[in-house]
């Protein structure tokens, strides 16, 4: 009887996983993934990419799509420039964040704001792949035909209020991050797809200057 219950639980768990992420199954060899991903992350000194961002509002059955350009330079510099359908620039350079919207520009020190500090760290860690090893999240890895899905569930209560989980999509053939999905407790999510990726090109520091 016990065995029967155990089998039922395992079948239900398997269904739950496949229902949660269609096309993905729980990974068998986590070590192989971690080794491959860490090696690829270490080799990556810069990323230049286009991106498409989808904000999906579940209850409204609506989405807001925006596009732009993305740059990353090791160790901790990120520039996200939204070009459509609005103009918005965000630069993260170490502890400093620079934001320019349609009306104003603003320089924020992440040090002065714990939330900014956490979000800043998440963005950098996701791009660098370090979020997978961070103590801020419980991590599960799933495997699809062409990509891995790293599911990061926040441990911290403040982050739990903002994100149910953050999924990092990693291409199988080269361990490049091709997408980041931020799922909110409400069911809404923000999905960023990185296209036309160029790795390890020379990016001037001026691109990440926080004026």
């Amino acid at each position: 009887m016990r065995n029967l219950i155990l089998i039922c639980v395992l079948i239900m768990a398997a269904f739950h996983v496949s229902a949660q992420y269609p096309g993905y199954t729980a990974i068998k060899d986590i070590n192989a993934f971690q080794t491959g991903f860490a090696a690829a992350s270490q080799k990556t000194t810069s990323i230049k990419s286009d991106f498409v961002q989808e904000k999906n509002l579940s209850l409204l059955a609506d989405k807001i799509v925006s596009k732009g350009k993305f740059w990353f330079k090791k160790e901790n510099m990120v520039r996200m420039e939204y070009t459509q359908p609005f103009q918005y620039l965000m630069i993260i350079n170490g502890q400093n964040i620079y934001v320019k919207d349609s009306q104003k520009e603003n320089k924020i020190s992440a040090k002065s704001n714990k939330l900014f500090q956490q979000i800043n760290k998440i963005i950098i860690d996701c791009v660098k792949g370090e979020a997978l090893e961070s103590g801020d999240f419980n991590t599960r890895i799933f495997e699809g035909k062409e990509s891995y899905l790293a599911e990061l569930s926040p441990v911290n209560k403040n982050l739990q209020a903002l994100f149910k989980n953050i999924n990092v999509i990693v291409e199988k053939k080269n361990y490049e991050v091709t997408g980041i999905e931020m799922h909110e407790p409400s069911g809404d999510n923000t999905i960023i797809h990185f296209n036309n990726r160029q790795l390890n090109t020379t990016l001037p520091d001026a691109l990440f200057a926080v004026h």
């Binding site: 209850l59 807001i64 359908p85 609005f86 349609s102 104003k104 209020a161 931020m182 409400s186």
Partner: protein
């Protein structure tokens, strides 16, 4: 002593304010449908949004959508997708579906609710309606408790000059809706009178049929 002088000054100011009235002479108004043509038909609209409040600046995207049950949902998030609030309006009902923890204060929610109710014109069906003709326009006013929602038009009620929310005597805030396209304003502006707080909305035509 200085403190006492300050207090008395405030009291005098309060006394003066309570004597003065910007809306003296409001008369009960019967049925008048002329306001209905200004009521925005937010089937679905996305706005580039700038909020300035006592020296702080916040920008983002506000989506306004009419739901199948005829309620109106308003979701405000920053450009990167970080959600600040998700409100629902249906006639007299108001629902907070979500609000970011740091904004979750009664006074903030109340102010935003009333400001957007003015813009959505949720009080047009109210029987507590008043009218007054003044030098600067024709005031079509609706009372909700202690609050008055004033819609100021030209004489022929063909143009909505501005909207005002007020207490019994004093204006609290002013709003404008301009450049309607298919019943949806391209520009919406909200400006408070008693403290530095403005909301500026500029429509983004992000869907091909808009």
């Amino acid at each position: 002593m200085r403190f006492l002088l300050f207090i008395s000054g405030i009291c005098m100011l309060a006394a003066y304010s309570s004597c003065s009235t910007a809306y003296k002479g409001l008369q009960a108004e019967g049925e008048n449908d002329c306001m209905a043509s200004f009521k925005p038909a937010f089937s679905r609209a996305l706005y580039n949004t700038n909020v300035n409040v006592v020296g702080k600046h916040l920008s983002g995207l506000l989506i306004i959508k009419t739901m199948p049950d005829s309620s109106v949902r308003m979701v405000f998030s920053n450009e990167a997708g970080f959600k600040f609030f998700d409100f629902g309006f249906k006639k007299d009902d108001f629902t907070v579906y979500y609000i970011f923890d740091q904004m979750n204060k009664k006074s903030v929610i109340k102010t935003l609710r009333k400001d957007f109710q003015l813009v959505l014109m949720t009080h047009l069906q109210s029987s507590n309606r008043y009218f007054i003709e003044k030098n600067d326009g024709y005031y079509h006013s609706f009372r909700d408790g202690q609050d008055y929602y004033h819609y100021v038009t030209d004489a022929s009620c063909k143009e909505l000059l501005r909207m005002e929310r007020a207490g019994r005597r004093k204006k609290v805030m002013e709003a404008v809706m301009q450049d309607y396209r298919n019943g949806i304003p391209d520009t919406i502006g909200i400006k408070h009178s008693n403290f530095s707080f403005t909301i500026e909305l500029k429509r983004i035509h992000d869907a091909p049929d808009q």
